[in-house]
């Protein structure tokens, strides 16, 4: 297994070391409880701009919890307590002054199951602009096209952008959801197992898209598919039982992990 992963990994383009170390997210001593259940334990993680950061780990280790905390979608779960800080571009995301609406505008999110709105393809993308008070038809039209192109979907749907989004295949829907994020020109895109509900062909398309997007966006992606993490990410964080066991370049994690638990997990000895 490990061999195979290495092979794939080596195809990845070399890390861009020249880029200065700017962090989009800096998590410091984050703890999170669902009621009494301590789901995230003392997380410390600095996420670099324009990186694809993968979060891997066995089921229930807190991957989704962490990523949902980054854009405060976790607020929607009743009975959640947190302490510690998360800084987004040096602003504390838990502070009163930092409105969640602003945070979520700057940080897009793609979910496990494609969740387009029950509207037309066009309206799905225009939605974000409209709620933000952008009414100019021309800007909207241009953005719709640009976003769909950005999500590598334009050619497939350009003739039917006014048809319902639910008529698209699963993979197309997921790319539509990505396009929907892109319309707001986010800074970071969070993805929680974005391909786990998709067939292999669609998965491949989405993976290719992620590779393109990383030119312009910082991407944090949760995946339970280690090959995927190996294929597409620059950095990988390995979560276990709510803790970060190891966080390093993907190469290191998959080829010479420092922690034996990481090694065990990667090589399929558990999880």
């Amino acid at each position: 297994m490990k061999m195979a992963l290495t092979a794939v990994n080596s195809k990845k383009k070399p890390e861009m070391m020249e880029q200065e170390e700017r962090l989009v997210y800096n998590t410091k001593n984050l703890n999170l409880w669902y009621g009494d259940h301590h789901a995230l334990k003392n997380i410390n993680l600095g996420i670099k701009e324009k990186d694809v950061t993968a979060i891997i780990g066995p089921s229930g280790c807190g991957k989704s919890t962490y990523i949902k905390t980054l854009n405060r979608m976790i607020d929607l779960v009743p009975g959640v307590k947190t302490n510690g800080t998360i800084e987004y571009r040096e602003r504390d995301i838990f502070s009163k002054e930092f409105l969640v609406e602003e945070l979520r505008t700057r940080v897009g999110m793609v979910f496990q199951k494609p969740n387009p709105f029950p509207k037309s393809i066009y309206e799905n993308i225009a939605f974000g602009l409209k709620i933000h008070g952008i009414k100019n038809k021309q800007i909207i039209n241009e953005t719709v096209e640009k976003s769909l192109r950005g999500a590598a979907l334009w050619d497939e749907v350009k003739d039917r952008i006014h048809e319902p989004a639910y008529g698209l295949s699963g993979g197309q829907q997921q790319r539509l959801c990505i396009a929907r994020c892109l319309a707001l020109e986010p800074d970071v895109i969070l993805m929680d197992e974005p391909t786990s509900a998709l067939d292999p062909v669609s998965t491949l398309k989405v993976e290719e898209l992620i590779q393109e997007l990383k030119e312009r966006y910082s991407i944090i992606i949760v995946t339970h598919n280690m090959q995927q993490a190996a294929r597409i990410s620059d950095k990988t964080a390995f979560f276990l039982n709510g803790e970060v066991v190891e966080f390093d370049s993907t190469d290191t994690i998959f080829n010479s992990p420092a922690d034996s638990r990481t090694d065990d997990y990667i090589s399929g000895r558990f999880g």
């Binding site: 979608m73 979520r104 700057r106 979910f111 969740n115 029950p118 509207k119 974000g128 707001l184």
Partner: protein, 314 residues
Amino acid sequence: MKTPNQDVSPVQQLLEKKYNGGFLNRREKIIPIVLFIMAAVSVLTTVGIVLTLIFETVTFFKDVSIVEFFTATEWYPFSNTDPVYGIWPLVLGTLKITLIASLFAIPIGLAVALYLSEYASTRTRKIMKPILEVLAGVPTIVYGFFALTFITPVLREIFPSLELFNAISPGIVVGIMIIPTIVSLSEDALSSVPEPVRHGALAMGSTKWETASKVIFPAALSGILASIVLGVSRAIGETMIVSIAAGSTPSAALDLTSSLQTMTSYIVQVTTGDAGFGTTIYYSIYSVGFTLFVFTLAMNMLAQFISKRFREEY
């Protein structure tokens, strides 16, 4: 059929017996037929209603000209000298009550439904819905006296020119009566929009209101329309509230502050009243009933048409 090395389990033995003994199941053939007959009952009900109404209506039109029925602007069947049967005042009465009730109940009902499904805590929702549902079952005579002895006096304090019997007070109370129906069903429709859709919108930085109004509400529209149709149908069909609080004066005036009569309250008036069997007045209730039936039918058709047009799949 068994592999030789496997000892035959009791389960397989039993199954074997079952299939060798033939698996002819008459039940499977009969049940759909029985169920179809059950489904036919509701069709027969409609047929029954139409037949019941149509025979007596035809008799009615032997005495009264159909032209008069649709064109005369007066409904005065009890006059001993020359009764007039023009359905318009009763239709107008029904329209007034329905209109006021709808204007009152639809915005409030939807506001409450949106509040409960999008803003309120689960606990509030769990407490409020059963309460509202109980109130949906309060007998309408109760609402009738509530209109007459509470709402009307309050309104008359504010608008002294309002008559004791008017369209506004019963209209509002009919509205109050249908609010629980609208809230309960709309709330169901709103909360059955899948959570991921809601999260999708929130994750883009939209506020709760934007999520509710631009995503959830349109997605639930066909369910919401259905709740409105049911509520408005009940407003059209409401009898006791109107009989008690709106008087029983068929009136062709557009004025909302004076007494009126609706189609349903006319029917109840006659059935509890004095009209002898076989009189024109007696047959007139069937003609009014028929008009009412056509009225609600038309509204339901319209609503189904609208709901089909705006349906958003999720």
